[in-house]
């Protein structure tokens, strides 16, 4: 797509793009290049020189038990976050879509969590499940359940999943509701006349017509779980216990800043970069299809 009518001049447009070029070059391309460059070296213990290791950092990472465990943790974590938040959001959107009046009120109430930062969401859930003062912990104790996410790996994972999914419900709800409202009512009424009950209509008509939205949300939520949940994990578990909640992004941070292992951290950045690229390509390919829908 090109504009037919354009203005003359070379210096003015160059001047106009200059601020963005400068900022992108200094704060984006240079650091990204550095990440790739550093991933090929190991700094000596005193930080005085760099030793070329080629793909050594990558080989080391892929044979590292903890790194492979972190991959698995990230996969489990993102799938759970995506399924939980999309499931709850779809349930609420289907209900809100059935209302003739009042769905706007529920929408206003349900978009709140979008405004709550992941790190703040983490603090809220940590407070409820705190081992000493948490309200939920206390009531679970009454029921005879001894909640302790500080020691129990499964409970730690459960807590960061719920806190991350909670913050994401608004977003998914808005897209699901829009998707549902775009389905022509005549189709659904035709099925109803043929005697299809709610569940049958949902399974055979609504769900297939909603699939472009569902697929789009699937990709977007996985990207969210990969990169934007750092705040939740850092506030609730700091990656523990025994690295049970150390997702890949958290590991880049803990190896790079806490562990000061720059070569390994850079190599991890490059691997993440590859993962995002793949996800983005999937997203873009898909979005072209969505336009036709």
């Amino acid at each position: 797509m090109e504009k037919r009518v354009t203005f003359k001049g070379i210096w003015l447009p160059l001047l106009l793009v200059l601020p963005q070029i400068l900022i992108t070059a200094v704060f984006f391309f240079y650091p990204a290049g550095q990440a790739i460059y550093q991933s090929l070296f190991i700094p000596d213990p005193f930080g005085l020189s760099m030793q070329w290791v080629g793909l050594g950092n990558f080989e080391y990472l892929l044979s590292d038990r903890y790194y492979r465990a972190s991959f698995l943790t990230t996969a489990i974590f993102s799938i759970l976050v995506t399924v939980v938040s999309m499931g709850v959001a779809l349930y609420l959107a289907v209900l809100a879509d059935r209302l003739i009046k009042g769905s706007g009120t529920y929408r206003t109430l349900l978009i709140w969590p979008y405004a709550v930062a992941p790190a703040v969401a983490g603090v809220l859930w940590l407070f409820m499940f705190n081992t000493r003062v948490g309200v939920v912990t206390w009531y679970l104790g009454l029921l005879g359940y001894d909640w302790n996410h500080v020691l129990n790996e499964g409970e730690a994972m459960g807590l960061v999943v719920v806190a991350s999914a909670w913050g994401r419900i608004s977003y998914n709800f808005l897209f699901f509701l829009a998707g549902l409202q775009a389905i022509p009512k005549s189709v659904i009424e035709a099925a109803a006349i043929d005697g299809a009950r709610f569940w049958t209509r949902f399974r055979t008509i609504v769900w297939p017509l909603l699939s472009p939205t569902t697929f789009f949300l699937l990709v977007v939520n996985i990207i969210y779980a990969f990169f934007e949940t750092f705040g939740v994990i850092h506030t609730i578990t700091s990656g523990g216990p025994q690295q049970a909640t150390t997702i890949l992004v958290y590991k880049v941070y803990s190896d790079g800043f806490v562990g000061q292992d720059l070569g390994s951290s850079a190599a991890q950045s490059v691997i993440l970069l590859a993962i995002v690229s793949v996800l983005t390509v999937v997203q873009f390919k898909y979005i072209e299809r969505r336009v036709h829908y």
Partner: protein, 284 residues
């Protein structure tokens, strides 16, 4: 929405079940926020002896005053100001540079235009989390640790907004630019008098999204603000937890959490239409 008032809509008992389902959902969503609010209105004693009450107490003013004026490491009022400057800086900065460069790539033919377009496209793919270590080094080398420019600039370096404005400018009728040219208007006149007013809604929608994005940043401020007086409120909350076995000052921490939520919630709920529009547009 009368056309939706068809035979498949629920009546009677079904309607109440639908409302009940939604109310349970809303209650689940709000419970953590409600609990935080209650905790911010009671004193520490009521929290450390569980179970804490589920209805607000009478310490609201005390807790919020304590948080705002002294906090734990730094007064929360200062953190709120830092967050506000960071969020506004990111939103305004990104919109400004994106408008200019989108104008250039749509309305001019200049050498390197295609290359530039692909370069900004590449930046769509890389969140700051992926390149934190080298970006941190750049900021440290520039002496921008603990500064507003250090907080803001790296987060402006992405092209989502440029992309959006490009898409929008492409839909602006050619006749407008043609008329401006015939009238002998300079390009910048056209940009300021015609293009900017036409982009008002898009700018506002994007502003809402970027403000929330900037306000809710966590990892980046955590890395580059080592001085408590430069902390933003969202990252400052975690710093209020004591290390080791001491008991956290929960009422003040929860008051701070509520304060951290209020500005973005006001923006999202108050500008709901723009927010939803911005959300849908920025995902296209």
């Amino acid at each position: 929405m009368s056309e939706r008032n068809g035979m498949v809509e629920k009546r009677g008992g079904g309607l109440w079940l639908t409302h009940l389902g939604l109310i349970i959902g809303v209650a689940f969503i709000f419970f953590p926020i409600w609990l935080a609010f209650v905790a911010s209105t009671v004193d520490q004693q009521e929290i450390v002896r569980p179970p804490m009450p589920l209805l607000p107490g009478d310490q609201l003013i005390e807790n919020y005053t304590k948080a705002l004026t002294s906090g734990v490491n730094a007064p929360v009022a200062a953190m709120l100001l830092n967050s506000l400057i960071m969020a506004m800086g990111i939103a305004i900065g990104k919109i400004a540079i994106s408008l200019l460069s989108a104008f250039a790539i749509v309305y001019f033919r200049f050498p390197g235009r295609k290359l530039f377009f692909w370069l900004i496209f590449l930046t769509l793919m890389l969140p700051v989390e992926v390149r934190i270590v080298p970006t941190f080094e750049v900021i440290a080398n520039f002496g921008m640790l603990n500064s507003y420019s250090g907080l803001i600039l790296p987060l402006i370096a992405s092209a989502t907004a440029t992309f959006l404005f490009r898409q929008f400018f492409m839909t602006v009728p050619d006749e407008l630019a043609e008329a401006a040219r015939v009238d002998g208007a300079k390009p910048m006149r056209f940009f300021i008098d015609i293009l900017l007013p036409m982009s008002r809604t898009n700018i506002a929608a994007l502003f809402v999204i970027l403000f929330i994005y900037g306000w809710n940043q966590y990892l980046w401020p955590l890395l580059i603000t080592t001085d408590p007086s430069m902390n933003t409120i969202v990252m400052g909350i975690k710093q209020m937890f004591p290390s080791g076995d001491d008991i956290a000052d929960w009422p003040v921490i929860m008051a701070t959490s509520i304060l951290a939520m209020v500005p973005p919630v006001i923006v999202v709920v108050g500008m709901q239409k723009l927010f939803i529009r911005g959300l849908v547009e920025s995902e296209k």
